[in-house]
């Protein structure tokens, strides 16, 4: 019976190819692990498919550059055919015969042979020999032209004794020696790769020569070549073919070499390669697998090797699909150390998809609390404000943000107000002027006198002033403006008291916001502002309050005086003294009066000093009288010193006599 006479069922052959291809993928993943259920299933299915094929008689599958052929007819195109054809062709197998029912060990040996590196097989005499020497006779692999497919095992044994030489490819000579740098080599090979001969043997020969040429380059140039291949691969298929041909499984070594040439850390470099070559998933898979394998070698962890000579392609068979997932999974794990992720311990492939820890990790990282969600949202808000170039849309968002701010204020949500303001402040420097104006205006617009009145109302009805202060303080001068505006229009005294208290608490850094209100024609407004300034205190309010000493309304002047006293406190003596010396007579008198109301000794001393610099005799007299009435016991001695001319030397004798009288009248107060 000749080959052409053999009846064969195309469907059975296709199934055999499919299962064999699936088995190969699994064997690559789990070399030697025939006890695994998926591997043993694949072997069993292959065995069964081979038996089904043999039901029609011996069969031959031809391996050609265009794929697998049976009886000169191409087998239906599928990824399995392509994969199996590639695997067979790489091992220089031109025909595959199925002549007897293979046993499970036979299939295992076949898979082992088909996953051996080509170089090792060549050294051992070729795939056909290795298979034959392992005692597999039901399946025969031929290199070169085989004998006609005659019959079952007996006749085949005879044929098998006639060994064939490998086909010697013939390709036009390519002078790769002209390339002395990695870059040149890459360009040259890329160019040639675009115009390779049709014949697969010639192509393989070309790649073999290319490998030799690359290997002959100096280390640094080889590294450069590797970089070029990995980073500039022009297409997915190119990357897969070329990286696979030239650098896998030496890819990891290449990464190390590149790192050495660059003086960088191999792991970092691997990470870079993965990142930069990431646009080609095949490259990622290859690099990841190779890097991990390299690390495993370094670590001596042979068990963790997920194998994988790359080229994990979409598949249909369940076993192969499982293998694909497992491979992807292992690559993901493998890539993890290279890209800074974690590297779980133990053999990763025992559990194809380890979910438990992932679920826990994601749950732990998930924003579950209100605070977490706020952080996530405000991160997004910051980026959004930064990214939005549609100003009307930005205005709508800013308005919503402002409204939210208003709501937070009314609800006395201090933390939220702080967060919102912080967010806006962080993002403002990154915004265009127009966008920044929109955001700021929207936030400012909601902080108005109505809000201030509403907040004051909460205090009037029993709320804590401090709570209101806490929400208003982050709003800065806008809040001060809002409160003072509310104060100006408020006719309810409890509300006014609260407003003043609020201003006292929040307006300190923004006294300049208040001072324009001192020009308000309504005397009561000015008086209230004066009260607030007095409670704010500090040097900044002294001048405005002193100026109020000239206000037309006496009620204002009186309040200003009180506020000035309140504002400067004991620590303001020096300031007041200075101002009195350099001010006009009225200011002098006001300050002397203020100092007179301060019981501290230094206030009395300040008055004594001012007696000598009074702008007029009446002013000097007022200062002496004030000192005479001062509560400080030191005032008596100060008056005596003035009387004796040891202080305020420039004053006249009448003034000294007055000082003496005043001292005597205070006799009992020493």
């Amino acid at each position: 019976m000749t080959g052409s006479e053999v009846r064969r069922d195309q469907a059975d052959l296709a199934r055999l190819v499919r299962h064999l291809s699936a088995g190969l993928s699994l064997w690559r993943l789990y070399p030697g692990q025939s006890q695994r259920s998926d591997v043993s299933t694949a072997i069993e299915l292959t065995q069964q498919a081979a038996s089904d094929v043999l039901g029609h008689g011996p069969a031959r599958i031809d391996v050609r550059p265009a794929g697998l052929f049976v009886d000169e007819e191409p087998m239906p195109t599928s990824v399995h055919n392509e994969r199996l054809a590639r695997a067979l062709y790489d091992r220089r197998i031109s025909h595959l015969d199925i002549i007897d029912h293979p046993t499970a060990p036979d299939i295992q040996v076949l898979l082992e042979v088909m996953t051996q590196p080509v170089g090792e097989l060549d050294d051992a005499g070729g795939a056909g020999d290795v298979l034959s020497e392992a005692g597999v006779t039901g399946i025969v692999l031929w290199a070169g032209e085989p004998e006609p497919l005659l019959a079952m095992r007996g006749e085949h044994d005879e044929l098998k004794t006639r060994e064939r030489d490998h086909k010697q490819p013939t390709i036009p000579p390519v002078d790769l020696s002209a390339a002395t740098t990695g870059g040149d080599m890459y360009r040259m090979l890329t160019e040639h790769a675009q115009h390779l001969p049709e014949d697969e043997a010639d192509r393989a020969e070309f790649h073999r020569r290319a490998q030799e040429a690359v290997a002959a380059l100096p280390l640094a140039e080889r590294a450069e070549f590797g970089r070029q291949v990995l980073r500039n691969a022009v297409s997915e298929s190119f990357a897969e073919r070329y990286v696979g041909q030239l650098t896998d499984p030496r890819l990891a070594q290449l990464a190390v070499e590149v790192a050495e040439a660059e003086g960088s850390d191999p792991e970092e470099l691997a990470a870079k390669i993965v990142e930069q070559a990431g646009r080609h998933s095949a490259v990622v898979r290859l690099v990841s697998a190779a890097v991990r394998r390299h690390q495993d070698e370094v670590e001596g962890d042979e068990d963790a090797d997920a194998g994988g000579d790359g080229a994990a392609l979409p598949v249909e068979d369940p076993q192969l699909a499982a293998a694909t997932i497992a491979l992807h999974h292992s690559v993901m794990r493998g890539a993890a150390p290279a890209v800074g992720g974690h590297r779980p311990g133990g053999p990763v492939l025992d559990t194809p998809i380890a979910v438990g820890p992932d679920v826990q990790a994601v749950r732990a990282a998930y924003p579950t609390t209100t605070e977490d969600v706020r952080v996530v949202s405000l991160d997004a808000l910051r980026d959004y404000l930064d990214l939005e170039d549609d100003l009307p849309q930005l205005a709508a968002v800013a308005a919503a943000l402002g409204e939210r701010l208003r709501r937070a204020c009314i609800d006395l949500q201090q933390g939220e107000v702080r967060l919102l303001i912080d967010t806006v402040e962080q993002v403002l420097p990154h915004l265009s002027a127009a966008a920044a104006d929109i955001v700021v205006d929207s936030c400012n617009a909601v902080v108005d006198s109505m809000l201030a009145t509403e907040l004051a109302g909460s205090v009037v009805t029993g709320g804590e002033l401090d709570d209101v202060v806490a929400v208003l303080r982050p709003l800065g001068p806008q809040a001060v403006e809002a409160v003072v505006a509310a104060l100006a229009d408020e006719d309810r005294s409890p509300f006014r008291r609260v407003h003043v208290s609020l201003l006292a608490a929040i307006a300190g850094p923004y006294a300049d916001v208040l001072t324009p209100w001192l020009q308000d024609p309504r005397w009561y407004v000015v008086r209230n502002i004066a009260t607030a300034l007095g409670r704010i205190g500090g040097n900044d309010v002294v001048d405005p309050l002193l100026r109020l000493g000239r206000h037309a309304d006496e009620r204002v002047r009186r309040e200003a005086s009180r506020s000035l006293i309140a504002a400067v406190g004991a620590r303001g003596v020096t300031t007041l003294t200075m101002r009195a010396r350099h001010g006009d007579e009225e200011t002098f008198e006001l300050i002397v009066e203020t100092l007179g109301s301060l019981p501290a000794t230094d206030a009395a001393q300040a008055i004594a000093e001012l007696v000598g610099s009074a702008p007029s005799r009446p002013a000097a007299r007022q200062a002496l009288e004030t000192l005479g009435g001062h509560d400080s016991p030191a005032a008596t001695e100060l008056l005596r010193e003035i009387a004796a001319g040891r202080r305020a030397a420039g004053i006249g004798w009448l003034a000294r006599a007055r000082a003496r009288r005043l001292a005597r009248s205070r006799g009992g107060r020493q």
């Binding site: 992932d358 949202s377 991160d379 959004y384």
Partner: protein, 511 residues
């Protein structure tokens, strides 16, 4: 029409009629009588009605039952989802069946839209349109079908709210977060009741209304992921709302850019890339969305785990909710046919996710998602070693390659009585009772998984004893539960002469 029916010309035409009837009803509300828009809407409805009539060999009848729309006995599944409100309006107007005879005028259609829009009592005839001449049979739905109905209704409501939200957003109004929360809660309840079936529902996709269906599907997948993560119900709903609104910014992208089959130019690409920012803006602008994960999801779902995506975030990775939705988004997007590419199989979509782990996607989320949908993702079509074709309906945590399937076609490719099979079952010798031998491209068998899911065929343990029926053609055995409500008409027509099909029947369809 047997267990499962591929989309025939008649079904497509019926879908168009439903769409235009909805449009005409809306237009009626918006414009006064005699307005050109109203006239155009009615004319458009008329032309699609003509196409429907031409594609049927007898007068077509559209039924409304259980808030779903049918052409004859065939559930117009996608239309029932898309035009849920129309079904409700028709039911409110007492319409259970519309039989479209010859001699329908524009005025008839105007009147029909009035009845529907105003929920007015419907007369027995509106010109050439017969109302309730054939009535659907009242049936007690089996539990699983009730559950399916609930799920479908939840899906429809979500679609509805999403559409309304979209309209509000594009007209400058604020999105309705509360409504979204309500419908997502409903969807979440249903998905929670049967996550596998919820996942199956995401096989429902629409080329014509891609964005809305996609957003609802991502919502469902996000809900399922959220449950897998172990979030509490509020968090799951919030994540679901994020999934629902994740592409809301696309509603502002011109359709010709979204659907362009050509390579996008720089400006078009910039517009596409801006949609996350636009979406976040729309959500932020609601005010109530400020502290909702949805805004981060909308903004960050394309930003990529390794921060190489768009828009670029400042010094940070996308938030975890956005990472979850990014995976769901990619999975649903690549499995839908678009004008610029074919749909990928669900299995290949997993490959995309896996290849993108550490880069576009958080690898932990990818692994979780893979586990969730299974090695053969729920909704995939597979061939069994028996030669039958089956739909994967439930993943198997123990062995992802051995899920639970439902057979839909026998080994000859003929629709068959569906049967649920757990592929973990073994024979006495311990060998698997069934195995998957290959993944199958649904288009190869002209199968629309979404239709199967929505029609409940994939869950049907046995043919319904009774149900919505079409009237039998002469000589055809009446289906169980058939009620002849107009025997006189039969008699009348039979006296007119021989008819291949009864004119009142929702006829067999011509392709």
């Amino acid at each position: 029409v047997t267990e499962w029916h591929p989309r025939s010309r008649a079904l497509l035409a019926a879908g168009e009629v439903i769409q235009r009837l909805t449009n005409a009803s809306h237009t009626r509300v918006l414009y006064p009588s005699g307005h050109p828009q109203r006239q155009a809407a009615v004319r458009s409805l008329m032309s699609s009605l003509r196409r429907l009539q031409e594609s049927c060999t007898a007068e077509p009848t559209i039924f409304v039952s259980g808030e779903s729309l049918y052409l004859g006995s065939v559930l117009l599944a996608r239309e029932s989802l898309s035009h849920y409100r129309l079904a409700l309006d028709m039911e409110a107007a007492g319409i259970e069946a519309l039989t479209f005879g010859s001699g329908i005028s524009d005025a008839d259609l105007e009147e029909l839209t009035r009845v529907i829009a105003e929920h007015a009592p419907c007369p027995p005839e509106v010109g050439g349109i017969g109302v309730n001449k054939v009535r659907p049979v009242e049936v007690d739905e089996p539990e699983w079908q009730t559950r399916l109905g609930e799920l479908r209704r939840a899906y429809s409501s979500t679609l509805d709210v999403l559409r309304q939200s979209g309209m509000r957003a594009t007209s400058g109004q604020s999105l309705d977060f509360e409504a979204a929360h309500a419908v997502v809660q409903g969807l979440g309840d249903e998905v929670g009741h049967d996550p596998g079936y919820g996942l199956l529902l995401t096989a429902v996709q629409s080329h014509d209304d891609y964005t809305h269906f996609h957003m609802v599907n991502v919502c469902v997948l996000s809900i399922a992921l959220g449950r897998l993560v172990g979030l509490d119900s509020e968090q799951v709903i919030a994540l679901g709302v994020g999934g629902l609104f994740h592409d809301i910014g696309k509603l502002n992208v011109p359709a010709d850019i979204l659907n362009s089959p050509d390579r996008l130019d720089e400006e078009q690409w910039r517009i596409i890339q801006h949609h996350p920012v636009t979406g976040a803006g729309m959500l932020f602008a609601t005010g109530s969305g400020l502290y909702h994960p949805a805004v981060a999801i909308a903004l960050e779902h394309h930003s990529a785990f390794d921060r190489t995506g768009y828009p670029a975030l400042r010094d940070r990775q996308p938030s975890v909710p956005a990472r979850l939705v990014a995976v769901a988004d990619c999975f649903d997007a690549v499995t839908t046919r678009r004008s610029y590419r074919e749909a990928m199989s669900r299995h290949d979509a997993l490959g995309i996710l896996i290849a993108g782990a550490e880069r576009g996607f958080d690898p932990r989320v990818v692994r979780m998602f893979t586990q969730m949908v299974g090695g053969h993702p729920v909704g995939s079509l597979v061939a069994l070693d028996t030669g039958e074709i089956a739909v994967v309906v439930r993943p198997n945590d123990e062995d992802p390659m051995r899920p639970t399937v439902l057979t839909v076609l026998d080994r000859t490719g003929t629709p068959m009585e569906v049967e649920e099979r757990a592929l973990t079952e073994t024979l006495r010798d311990g060998s698997p009772a069934w195995s998957i031998t290959a993944r199958v491209d649904p288009s190869r068998y002209d199968i629309d998984i979404g239709e199967l899911v929505l029609a409940g065929k994939v869950r049907q343990a046995s043919p319904p004893a009774s149900g919505l029926v079409h009237e039998p053609a002469p000589g055809e055995i009446a289906p169980a539960g058939y009620v002849d409500t107009h025997a006189e008409r039969h008699l009348h027509h039979s006296l007119d002469g021989p008819h291949t099909h009864d004119p009142d029947v929702s006829a067999p369809f011509e392709d």
